[in-house]
Amino acid sequence: MIEVLSWIGQALILIGTFFYFLSTLGLIRMPDVYNRMQTSTKSATLGSLGVIIGVGLWAVGKGYSVSWISMTIIIAAFILLTNPISAHVLIKAAYEKGIPLWHGSVVDKYREFLEREEKERDAETQAASQAGTQGENDAGEVRT
C-alpha cells in the first residue's frame, strides 16, 4: 500500500523535471527579457512544486518519517510565494532601466497605466491650482 506513494512521488518528480526543462528551453528560446522571465518563472515554479512534494511522498513511501512531507510542503509553499515576487521585482527593474520590448510585442499595459496615471495627476494639479487661485481671490475679496 505504501509503495503506491513512492510511485506517485517518482511520477511527480518526473513531471517536475520536465517542467524544469521547459523553463530552461523558454529561457534560451524566447526573444525578449520579458518573455523569457514569464515562461521561465511560471514553469520553474510549477516544476519545483512537483519535485519537492514528490520527494516528500517518495520519502514516506521509502519508510521514512511523515515529517518529511510537512517539511517539503513548507519549502514548496515558500517557493510558491516568493518566486512571483522576485520575478515581478526583476521585471520592474528591467522596465525602469528602459530595456525595449521585442518588436513583435503589441500590448504594453504598464505604459498605458503610467500614461493614465500621469494624465490623472495633471488633471488633479490643474484642478488644485484653479481651486487655489479661486481661494486666493475669495480671500482677497474678504479682505477688501
Binding site: F21, Y64, V89, L90
Partner: protein, 84 residues
C-alpha cells in the same frame, strides 16, 4: 525503484542549459533572470540530495538557501533599478 541520479542528471542538464543565458544574455537583467532560475533548480537538487542521503536536516539547508536566494535577487533588482 529508479535510481536517484537520473533525476539529478535531468536537473543538472537544465542548469547547464540555463548557464547558456548567463553567458550569452545581452543585458544584466537577462543574466539575473537566468541566475534566479538556477537557484530555483538548485533548491530542487538540494531536496533530492536530502532524500538521497536519507537525512531530514538537509531539507532545512534547502529552505535557508531558498530564503537567501530570494533576498539576493531582490537586492540585485533594487541595485539595477538604482534604489541602493
Amino acid at each position: 525503484m529508479t535510481p536517484m541520479y537520473v533525476y539529478l542528471l535531468l536537473i543538472g542538464i537544465a542548469v547547464v542549459l540555463s548557464m547558456y543565458r548567463v553567458f550569452r544574455g545581452p543585458t544584466a537583467v537577462d543574466r539575473l533572470v537566468a541566475v534566479d532560475i538556477m537557484t530555483t533548480l538548485t533548491v530542487g537538487m538540494m531536496v533530492l540530495y536530502a532524500l538521497y542521503y536519507g537525512r531530514m536536516i538537509y531539507l532545512s539547508v534547502a529552505l535557508v538557501y531558498a530564503v537567501l536566494a530570494f533576498a539576493g535577487v531582490i537586492a540585485f533588482a533594487r541595485y539595477l533599478e538604482g534604489g541602493i
